[in-house]
Symmetry: C2
Subunit: 528 residues, 2 copies
Amino acid sequence: MKITGKQIIGYAKTTGGSGTFKSSIVTEDNSGPYTFDEGSIANVDEAAKKATSAFKTYKILPAADRVKFLETIATEINSIREALVAIAMKETHLPQPRLNGEVDRTINQINLFVNLLKEGSWVNAIIDRANPQRQPLPKPHICQMLRPLGVTAVFGASNFPFAFSVAGGDTISALAAGCPVVYKAHYGHPVTSELVGNCIAEAARKTGMPDGVFSLIQGQTTESGKALVTHPLIKAVGFTGSLAGGRALFDLAVKRDEPIPVYAEMGSVNPVFLLPGMLKEDAIGVAKSLVASNTAGVGQFCTNPGILLMIKGADTDQFLTQYAASLADAAGGSMLTASIYDAYCQGISKLKSSPTLKSLGTGVSDGENKALPNAFKVSGADFLKDKALFEEHFGPVALHVIAENADQLLEIAEQTPGQLTTSIWANQDDVAGFKDLFDILQEKAGRLMINNVPTGVEVTHAMQHGGPYPATTDSRSTSVGSQAIYRFVRPVCYQNFPQQLLPAELQNDNPLKIWRKVDGELTKDKVA
Amino acid sequence: MKITGKQIIGYAKTTGGSGTFKSSIVTEDNSGPYTFDEGSIANVDEAAKKATSAFKTYKILPAADRVKFLETIATEINSIREALVAIAMKETHLPQPRLNGEVDRTINQINLFVNLLKEGSWVNAIIDRANPQRQPLPKPHICQMLRPLGVTAVFGASNFPFAFSVAGGDTISALAAGCPVVYKAHYGHPVTSELVGNCIAEAARKTGMPDGVFSLIQGQTTESGKALVTHPLIKAVGFTGSLAGGRALFDLAVKRDEPIPVYAEMGSVNPVFLLPGMLKEDAIGVAKSLVASNTAGVGQFCTNPGILLMIKGADTDQFLTQYAASLADAAGGSMLTASIYDAYCQGISKLKSSPTLKSLGTGVSDGENKALPNAFKVSGADFLKDKALFEEHFGPVALHVIAENADQLLEIAEQTPGQLTTSIWANQDDVAGFKDLFDILQEKAGRLMINNVPTGVEVTHAMQHGGPYPATTDSRSTSVGSQAIYRFVRPVCYQNFPQQLLPAELQNDNPLKIWRKVDGELTKDKVA
């Protein structure tokens, strides 16, 4: 498939970059790496202007037209899936089955939003009828629904080249909401990104979407990203990546003359609390599950269980022994990018040099430049003394914290910063005995699990992938599941409007047959 | 009624302020002004800590207990309403009927949230059932609902001493959501604030709420407010006031180690578009309505129609003539505080000295230090050249912008910064002819009206009182109406939880009989 290395700005392939950069992989004919234009401030400006112009049309299209657009994106991606997976394997070192599964996930994700739009009730239509007889003043007809925020900037992640990238959850939920997207591709997989970008541009063309509804900016430096977040025509930002990266974008966005919302998902250590009853029941099984979860995909998941907490005792010792044994069999592997691998190695060196940490062993090395799974243990008291131990080390490493007693475990729970997830392994006795722990942990994460590993994030209505800072910059939102659409909308209220000026969702006849709240009651009925 | 001049911190009246300040009114026995302790950083710290401790209990109380608390607040306020209105009249110079109405509004507002909690479906319960047979992996049971964010700081407004103050919409919606409140009283009405604060503290005591669920900090300086917004235990902020004040709090909140959401409602000029068909039909009637709206309550409403826009022509001239005539009969009055009056006079001087503005006349002065209604006109071309003309001058003044033609009116609409409201006066012909204007204005405000004045904000489900920046710092939210509760919550997701650990809202049996989304369908049924 032909790679241009240019920006995709609406329907055009655009040059005028501020330099070039090379891909990490070579061309099909082995003539060397691909060359990409580095997205310039002018490229960003053009994309933002085209998107703003497109928004005027896109925002008032019937939902059925957005449905066609999204469905066609899925069709386009599916039609080149072999090529996509082949390229992504080279660019990300992720294995074929995982990438195939990720393409499925990406398409399922699109279908989730397609179904949400088809059903239509997500707009939260609320109607309070007029009462001309009310004293002392008549009550006007008032109604509201959610409307798109405007042009949205999306920054893709390195670790999911499909599901959290060009046509990933952020892009699709913004497009579903009615917001044009200017997408900043991750420099880790520019070739995959161009191919998926072409699919979206082609789908836009085929379904008659306005030129500019989607653009893709390539870049290895932070220049175009900064330009995007500070551009006055950008109205919201979606991001998946590191704490440093997400916070930098947030800081830029809130300093603007017009501050804008930033939905940055910045990873997590996803603490796992192993309660004594459960360890008594099945220390071996729990250890095997957690080694598998910690080392799957070379540990490159934002829900990777990075910190495991337990109370000292014989069952805990058995757990640790089994964890070390299972870890010794766990394979490492190539990481997504050279810089991610370097950061992992530095993190492991730092942990190794800590006087309070003890190694629990490592996994199997299967070659040069491949990450080796690791585990360490530390006492609860030492852990509480060193806040830095709460930091994430992206990769297959777990820190086991051995609390002196239940009180210390609770104290650690209290000190835990915001997380995407937290899990508890508990039997019936633990459920009864650790009520306080459950109450504390509700303040610490977006998703709580019992006896489940945190890796594997279901794409469904009830999913919450987002938690208190520093897990995200906005705990009120999710980046996975149907509720993700609510990041890119705001309520607009219409008072005393004639029927023909109201959006279909708010017209008395309820032509879209959606659920609405009328005078405080949910109903699909027409308004009398 | 006894005024202590102290901070109300949980159930205690607390001293240890960082100085004192005097009320603008004198004591009942005429012995001089009341003396208030200036809230100190230590007071704020104590209130935040007590509130955090209270949160542990408050957040897990059944909604029925919060209902009792809110109902008792309403009862307490109602029981001393004569005294409250008498004091507020002196402190704010607002007339008795208006203040009586505002107490009613405050109580109605409390009842709105009481009914929301009683009905219970507001928590947005979503349940996706398990599917143990799914391949390749079983699907776990996943459910989510909205949970309180934590301790909330609320800053009251000067212009609504009840409805946007101590027991106003921000406080009540936060308490309804399950968040303790630390309230910073407006220095314009400290006596009224103490009396209402006592009502909330008394209601908390009578209904057995945890000590610290509500505190009230007095202060004339910005010291305690800054301490509040930067306190690590504060998790959200509600504010109603000026752009400068709201932005300052926002800037502090987003610079924190842990940034927190700030819901600042910062006023607006609420542009009114007068379309030619409507002016042809009823220039006289429209002019009378708008003079009344602009000068009501000495213009001290955040929805005051401060900018009126029209296209030049004979009907527009007739409108302007009638506006000037009605304005000449409109009475001014005492403003809320001396500093608000000073700012109004300075604003009027600035407008008078502008070479492009022409006075349309003034209203009736009824004494010294009383604001005089004013109106000015300016050409569309001159208006477009001077962005400062979009600024709000809090008080009874309107700027009439006379566009050269419809295109220029649309250009002004495009240039309009974010607003709480925008109104259009239109007849049938205008509705057909100005489609573009309606589309543009949807991006500019939270509430759009046809042939209604913007003053008078209904407290109802469909109300949206909040718009794009600079009207607010968060256009995704409202500070009036039942949807205001959504500012103080975040979704929490429970995966593979045993029934007894789930909140009642998410249990299979649906004991609260609320609406829930189960496998994508809204239902009140039990989950099988």
